[in-house]
């Protein structure tokens, strides 16, 4: 029938046009073009900057050689500083990972196996450090350990218990990286077949031996993946580290400070090294996770039996819960206590000008305007980033999920994880490098560049859960719809999409949260714009702690709400 037939009413016309468009979109050629476009966007936004950085390192090796190794004045000073900072970062990341395992594994076990009142609350609290901006978290932890407001009050000390430096960095990093370990194995432990453990017991193994020989091999891959994530997060973290590091400079902090001094070639080289380290770790885990054997096949029945005894297990559970509260929970939320302490004035001198109310609302520099502006900027950026990412990630996730070539699928899957593991400051720098004046010269640091950077590093957070959702949708519905004459696109809209809703919302909230809380890449790409986590760092550097505490509390509340929202949607999905 002719579409221009005047007798047809508008609605029918619209529907027909839509169906016709979808039919056109479902043509083989158009679909292939769509695939190419999807992968193209991915390469341009996510891989492009990194590849360009690698390329530039090779092309302008002479420049780098001259500034990094043979500077006329400093010699190889820059390189030594790089090595130092990388060494420090690796050392910290290694120690942090050990602590993450010590706290994270028992907590995962407790959450998966025990039933107790308040389990849901503990569950949310464990996830929270992943959602709260690290700069807010770092600030709170600094207040708790490093100033005379927190723990030192118990000891009646005038100064903080832990001064800025390596130990404080470790404390801060443990707080926001251990959830990666807990998360990665919690589900696996919960789904584990308890009968295997029963079988182990009847064969004479004590609970500890069973956990080690039977359960551990089953969670091995998840644990390894979580550990690598925790390690790389610690290695690449900027926001919290800027606050707690003091004079000690980890590699990402060095990137940020060199970037501020516009030392482009040296920054490029350091970013390059960090990226290489992270990529090697990721590749190694992906390739060998299944093959890594577990040492200690020897069993020490008596000793392990002692480890399984009730007093020991109770002590262990108690200790991990204690560590969780002492290292994570209390320090991470201490900023709220601090805010109330300094609400109207200094709790020590009573000076109202040192209080939050004065600093934020009454002081001549009108911090409340800065905070409001930064908050608006943050939300605007996060919203745009979320929309863009959902649009470009959905086809990619669909594409990967439906891919038949296993090797290619595995490879793409690996590529997707890249933004997840490389330090965001290094990623931010690559984006600055590619899009800014040193590369394509399309953007200068500012609002747009922040968006590009955020799209890039939140990409994985968006694609990952969507791949999971697509994998979970049975293809038969899709096939049935096609058999009834629907074009592929119509089938997708009508059949697949409704299944996807909760997954999409989860992915969107994840992306939004990550974008809201990022610091490292934002500092590099921001120009004069300020997002709220960055503003927090500024306040901290200006020593206006009560104002910083005000901003941090706002951030914590927002992320907490987002997290609750996320739980509502992911919970709904589980019940299906």
């Amino acid at each position: 029938m002719d579409l221009d037939d005047p007798k047809l009413d508008v609605e029918v016309k619209l529907r027909r046009t839509l169906l016709a468009t979808e039919k056109w979109l479902s043509k083989k050629g158009v679909l292939s073009a769509g695939k190419v476009f999807t992968v193209g966007i991915f390469i341009l936004l996510v891989l492009g900057p990194i590849l360009y950085l690698l390329l530039q390192i090779i092309i302008s090796w002479k420049d780098i050689n001259a500034t990094v190794f043979n500077d006329p004045i400093l010699g190889n000073e820059a390189f030594l500083m790089m090595l130092n900072s990388i060494g420090l970062s690796l050392k910290i990341a290694a120690i942090v990972t050990v602590f993450d395992i010590i706290i994270g594994v028992p907590i995962a076990w407790i959450l998966a196996r025990y039933n107790f009142r308040g389990k849901n609350i503990l569950d949310t609290l464990v996830d929270m450090p992943m959602a709260v901006p690290t700069s807010a978290l770092g600030f709170s932890i600094y207040l708790f350990w490093g100033t005379n407001n927190g723990i030192s009050r118990i000891f009646n000390s005038e100064v903080g218990l832990v001064s800025q430096g390596t130990l404080l960095i470790i404390l801060a990093h443990v707080a926001f990286t251990f959830p990666y370990v807990t998360r990665s194995i919690r589900g696996i432990i919960a789904d584990m077949d308890l009968n295997l453990e029963k079988a182990g017991r009847t064969l004479g193994a004590s609970p500890f031996t069973i956990a080690r020989m039977i359960s551990l091999p089953l969670v091995k891959e998840g644990l390894l993946a979580g550990t690598v994530l925790a390690f790389t997060r610690s290695l690449g973290e900027t926001g919290a580290t800027l606050i707690v590091s003091g004079v000690y400079q980890t590699a990402p902090v060095v990137i940020v400070s060199w970037m501020k001094g516009l030392k482009i070639p040296t920054t490029a080289f350091l970013a390059f090294i960090l990226i290489i380290i992270s990529l090697s770790l990721l590749t190694f885990v992906r390739l060998f996770a299944r093959k890594v054997g577990l040492p200690w096949s020897k069993v020490f029945p008596k000793f392990e039996r002692k480890l399984s005894s009730k007093p020991v297990t109770r002590t262990r559970d108690g200790l991990s819960l204690f560590l969780f509260s002492a290292v994570v929970f209390i320090p991470a939320l201490f900023v709220i206590v601090f805010l109330f302490q300094w609400w109207g004035g200094s709790p020590f001198s009573g000076d109202p000008q040192a209080g939050m109310i004065y600093q934020v609302f009454q002081a001549p520099d009108q911090k409340i305007t800065d905070i409001t502006n930064a908050l608006i900027t943050s939300v605007e950026i996060a919203l745009i980033v979320t929309v863009v990412n959902v649009i470009i990630a959905t086809p990619m996730a669909f594409f990967i999920s439906k891919m038949k070539n296993k090797k290619l699928k595995g490879f793409l899957d690996l590529l997707i994880d890249i933004p997840l593991i490389i330090p965001s400051s290094a990623l931010g720098f690559s984006i600055f490098f590619l899009w800014g004046s040193n590369g394509m010269h399309i953007l200068s640091p500012g609002f747009m560049m922040i968006i590009v950077a955020h799209v890039s590093f939140t990409y994985s957070y968006c694609v990952r859960p969507l791949i999971g959702s697509f994998d979970a949708i049975p293809t038969m519905y899709d096939e049935a719809a096609t058999a009834f004459g629907a074009s592929k696109f119509t089938a997708f809209r009508k059949v697949t999409f409704p299944f996807l809703k909760s997954g999409l919302i989860a992915a969107a909230i994840m992306t939004f949260t990550r974008s809201m809380s990022e610091t490292g890449a934002t500092i590099i790409c921001m120009g004069v714009e300020r997002t709220i986590p960055v503003l927090l760092v500024d306040f901290f550097e200006a020593s206006t702690f009560p104002a910083a505490a005000f901003a941090a509390t706002i951030l914590i509340v927002i992320s907490f709400l987002l997290l609750l929202l996320l739980r509502v949607f992911t919970r709904g999905k589980k019940n299906e």
Partner: protein, 362 residues
């Protein structure tokens, strides 16, 4: 290897009864089958023996030693699960040697035992496979080997053959009994399948609703079921209500529809009763053969249904409003056509008579 005794063992899951007042004694080297429907308390009993559950009250003895409080890992009970529970990331060989390793037994010895068992159980050559690479029957054989190699004094099997095909199940029933008897190990085997219990065990304990209702040799339990429940559980049967009538020294069962059968019973004259006759004890004959037959009871009926199920025909015969279910061996010349007339012949021993006041559960 070990004598097992349960004294007044009771297990409640909150308010739900698992088993109640279980008293059971299993002698050294005996093969006991625990027979019961789903939910009768078989698994609970098996778990209590293995220490995977602890009783709410009562005591369990192994060789007169009270082991009620002993944890599972110290009991030396080899447990074979219905769903095998082989460790997925371990080779078959490592699965089997898991027990000796965690118990710190002599590995060279254990390897030798394992090797012999693998040959006996017909799974030699599968040592280097992963559990998901072998068939269900092979998996259960591995699980059995694993339980035995762990130095088990008592073998506890919780419906071990349930998940297997009928044919493999039968083969394994015979293998199981032979192996257990060769090893001289004490063994408890839970099953819901009467034939399986009869085939493997020295004695059978029948469970109903968390209690033992009868215990005895397969012949005893089959020929002299002590309750309607047991008789009914053992297999396909026909049951009818009526009363007992004594004439001269003989007992008769008069069904409510008027049919009269010569039976054997201790019940008194006039007592209300229930009679049950197993399907395989009913004999079916052509009407013309009547004169040649020598049976206590012969009645005439009409074939309602006849179905060949392999070894026998399942025949339903309507006699005066009662449907008799018969299993008749194939090969006998009997009219199998629907509606044809036929004779149902029984001896007085074929009837199991129970007093009626006992509540009937079906």
């Amino acid at each position: 290897m070990v004598k097992v005794e349960l004294k007044d063992v009771t297990k409640f899951y909150g308010k739900i009864r698992g088993v109640e007042n279980i008293n059971l004694s299993i002698s050294d080297g005996e093969y006991l089958a625990v027979l019961g429907a789903t939910g009768a308390g078989k698994t609970t009993t098996m778990y209590l023996l293995a220490g995977l559950l602890s009783p709410s009250s009562g005591t369990i003895y192994f060789d007169h030693e009270d082991i009620t409080k002993k944890p599972a890992e110290d009991r030396d009970v080899g447990f074979v699960f219905e769903e095998y529970n082989l460790f997925p990331r371990m080779l078959v060989e490592d699965n089997v040697l898991f027990g000796p390793i965690v118990k710190d037994l002599d590995i060279t010895d254990s390897k030798q035992i394992a090797r012999e068992l693998f040959v006996l159980l017909n799974i030699a050559g599968k040592e280097k496979n992963f559990p998901d690479e072998i068939s269900g029957g092979q998996k259960q054989r591995v699980a059995l080997a694993r339980a035995i190699v762990s130095n088990a004094k008592l073998l506890v099997m919780d419906d071990p053959l349930r998940a297997l095909d009928a044919k493999i199940r039968e083969i394994l029933q015979i293998e199981l009994r032979k192996l257990v008897k060769d090893l001289g190990i004490t063994c408890i085997h839970a099953t819901h399948d009467t034939q399986e219990a009869m085939r493997v065990a020295d004695r059978i304990a029948v469970f109903e609703d968390g209690k033992i209702v009868q215990i005895g040799s397969p012949e005893e339990v089959y020929n002299h079921p002590n309750s309607f429940y047991v008789a009914d559980f053992l297999g396909e049967s026909t049951s009818m209500e009526g009363r007992i009538s004594k004439k001269k020294k003989e007992s008769f069962f008069i069904a409510n529809n008027g049919l009269e059968f010569k039976v054997k019973t201790d019940l008194k004259d006039g007592e209300e009763a229930i009679a049950l006759v197993p399907a395989e004890l009913l004999d079916i004959f052509d009407v013309e053969e009547r004169e040649t037959l020598n049976y206590d009871n012969i009645v005439e009926g009409k074939i309602l249904n006849s179905k060949c199920v392999g070894e026998f025909n399942e025949i339903e015969v309507m006699v005066n409003g009662i449907i008799f279910k018969a299993k008749d061996l194939i090969g006998k010349e009997v009219p199998a056509r629907k509606g044809s007339k036929i004779l149902v012949a029984t001896d007085k021993d074929d009837y199991r008579i129970f007093p009626k006041e006992k509540e009937i559960k079906k």
